[in-house]
């Protein structure tokens, strides 16, 4: 509405007027006063626990009353190194996070490209693509348990009718199918954020660039590869990193789908750490696992962002 007037507005308001230090002081007091109601709960219930959590990873803290906690240095990590079950769970977590993020990205990019075209029924798919966002992860998991149900499930029925399988498969209890089945659910649940972000990115690509490409005789594929994709790069890097972090740290979906089973085949690191902390009460050891996860995430992110940056140059 007032877009033109803002551009024509003389720039005086942006220049800091020479204020007395007293006024600056008053301003600062105002700012702190406004921030305090948010600052106090954040300090008590987020910053302090986080720092304390990192510290607990170096102690032998356990649940229960009247226990004294000792600083044990790297003992937890030495134990972790020898804990093959944890490393197994770490590996599963990486397969899950990479799998979900990569598939999700490819599907969401395809969907976003389609939704950016003038196609019929686009509104229906667009609406449907947003629904998982509004659903509790517990219900997404329950819904897919109905789909995967060995006797009453949709999937077995469809596959049987297509003569692809002879007998019903218990997808979530099968040693080789459980992890892929869970990854499909993860992809479904995370489609909205990724699609919406990529769509917004696509709509930000100036159409003149495309037209120029078309005039020069570039095919649709060439325009996608040489115009759209490079323009989209910052958005892609941002959303895939976020997706990866979210997926690696995710809990509820798989907890309700399989509880980490069968035989630990879908035991994501968060589930493992949760069990360690709240089933067995080994707070210090569980926090150490959390620290190991952070180190891994930050390492991977740094590497990913570094390679992207180099590529961009």
């Amino acid at each position: 509405m007032g877009l033109t007037s803002t551009t024509e507005r003389p720039d005086t308001s942006k220049q800091p007027r020479s204020r007395g230090s007293r006024q600056r002081q008053r301003q600062r007091r105002e700012a702190y006063l406004l921030l305090v109601p948010a600052l106090i709960p954040v300090l008590i219930f987020s910053v302090y626990p986080l720092l304390n959590g990192i510290y607990l990873g170096f102690t032998d803290s356990r649940a229960g009353l009247n226990r004294t906690t000792h600083f044990t240095g790297f003992e937890n990590y030495v134990r972790l190194l020898q804990n093959s079950m944890f490393w197994e769970s770490f590996k599963i977590g990486l397969v899950w996070a990479f799998g979900v993020t990569a598939i999700q990205f490819l599907l969401a990019l395809g969907l976003a490209l389609l939704l950016n075209q003038r196609l019929r029924m686009r509104w229906l798919v667009r609406t449907l693509a947003l629904v998982p966002w509004a659903m509790p992860s517990v219900i997404v998991a329950i819904m897919w348990r109905l789909v995967y149900h060995p006797d009453a499930g949709l999937l077995n029925d469809v596959l049987t009718r297509m003569h692809l399988i002879d007998e019903n498969i218990n997808w979530l209890a099968d040693f080789s199918f459980a992890l892929p089945a869970v990854i499909v659910v993860g992809v479904w649940a995370g489609m909205p954020q990724t699609t919406v972000t990529l769509l917004a990115g696509l709509q930000g690509v100036p159409s003149e660039l495309h037209e120029a490409g078309a005039v020069d005789g570039a095919t649709a594929w060439q325009r996608f590869w040489h115009v759209t994709l490079p323009q989209l790069r910052p958005v892609i890097v941002a959303i895939t990193s976020l997706d990866f972090v979210w997926n690696f740290n995710s809990f509820g979906l798989v907890y309700v789908l399989t509880e980490g089973g069968p035989g630990g085949k879908t035991m994501l690191p968060m589930l493992f750490a949760y069990n360690e902390g709240f089933e067995y009460g080994n707070f210090g050891y569980a926090a150490a696992m959390g620290n190991a996860m952070v180190v891994l995430i930050i390492g991977l992110m740094a590497f990913y962002l570094w390679t992207r940056m180099r590529e961009a140059e």
């Binding site: 219930f45 990192i54 659903m135 992860s137 517990v138 479904w188 958005v235 976020l242 690191p269």
Partner: protein
């Protein structure tokens, strides 16, 4: 977009779109269908997508399940209080973060990022001890407190976008007219922020209505279950065999979020993105 698409390509595009439609819709349709089926039909050898003898009995059974109803009430209480408290707390904070130059601006941005990267287990263990000390374990008030801090990164992010959209000239004009700071905030800024406040509180309602992990850690008394907890426990126990009521209950539990989301949809997709994506 002005270039003409060949018919063959169009066909492929529609095929792909249909593929997405099937992938996205079928699980939903299946749950709805299960919710309206009789127990016999659910386990029949060749189930159909559309129930042959649609029935509402699953819904009445889900509503007779006292644990689910109580959980619904708990969820409602928690989600409404979280939405109100969180927006009340983040309103002045997001205003200050936009309008004042303070070092806290950078710190808050860093904190928003860090809170995404660190796995919740690291925060939850010490938080569990703190809540125990304050006797806030197994208490809905305690859960609202935890949700407040957990939701703040989102609400601060969202509300700052709305504050930034208000031209500072309006406030300066009010100041020139002799209005004090408080008066300016209440009579100029607040009315303009109203839509943003509504959107943000709806968003907070949805995410706390849906939350599972923190509720699992901080509520052990079954009487205090929130809906996601109750449903997760239901499927672990009798729900595994009573699929009809399970589907019906899940459907009902999805509705509030869906309704709010439908209202929010446009705002959320455009608002969130304009804040975060600058290509």
């Amino acid at each position: 977009m002005n270039t003409r698409t060949r018919p063959f390509i169009r066909l492929l595009q529609y095929a792909a779109l249909t593929g997405f439609l099937v992938f996205l819709a079928f699980p939903l349709v299946w749950m709805v269908s299960t919710a309206f089926k009789t127990p016999q039909e659910i386990v029949s050898l060749h189930p159909t997508l559309i129930p042959k003898h649609p029935t509402l009995s699953n819904f009445t059974m889900a509503l007779e399940e006292s644990s689910l109803v109580r959980a619904g009430v708990n969820s409602l209480l928690v989600a409404i209080s979280t939405a109100l408290v969180t927006v009340l707390v983040s309103l002045p904070a997001s205003y200050a973060l936009v309008r004042y130059r303070t070092w806290l601006r950078k710190v808050s941005l860093g904190w928003i990022l860090v809170s995404q990267i660190f796995p919740q287990i690291l925060i939850v263990i010490p938080l569990f001890m703190i809540m125990k000390q304050f006797q806030l374990l197994n208490s809905l008030v305690g859960l609202v407190l935890v949700y407040l801090v957990w939701a703040l990164p989102f609400t601060l992010w969202m509300l700052q976008g709305y504050v930034r959209a208000i031209p500072p000239e309006l406030e300066q004009a009010a100041a020139v007219d002799g209005a004090g700071k408080v008066r300016t905030l209440v009579s100029v800024v607040l009315p303009l922020l109203a839509p943003g406040l509504v959107a943000t509180s709806m968003f907070t309602f949805i995410i706390s209505w849906n939350e599972f992990f923190l509720a699992l850690v901080f509520l052990q008394n079954p009487d205090l279950n929130t809906l996601p907890l109750a449903l997760a426990r239901f499927i672990g126990a009798e729900g595994a065999v009573r699929l009809g009521p399970l589907a019906a209950g899940s459907l009902l539990a999805t509705l509030p979020g869906l309704v709010f989301f439908a209202i929010l949809q446009r705002r959320l997709t455009s608002g969130l993105m304009s804040g975060s994506v600058k290509g």
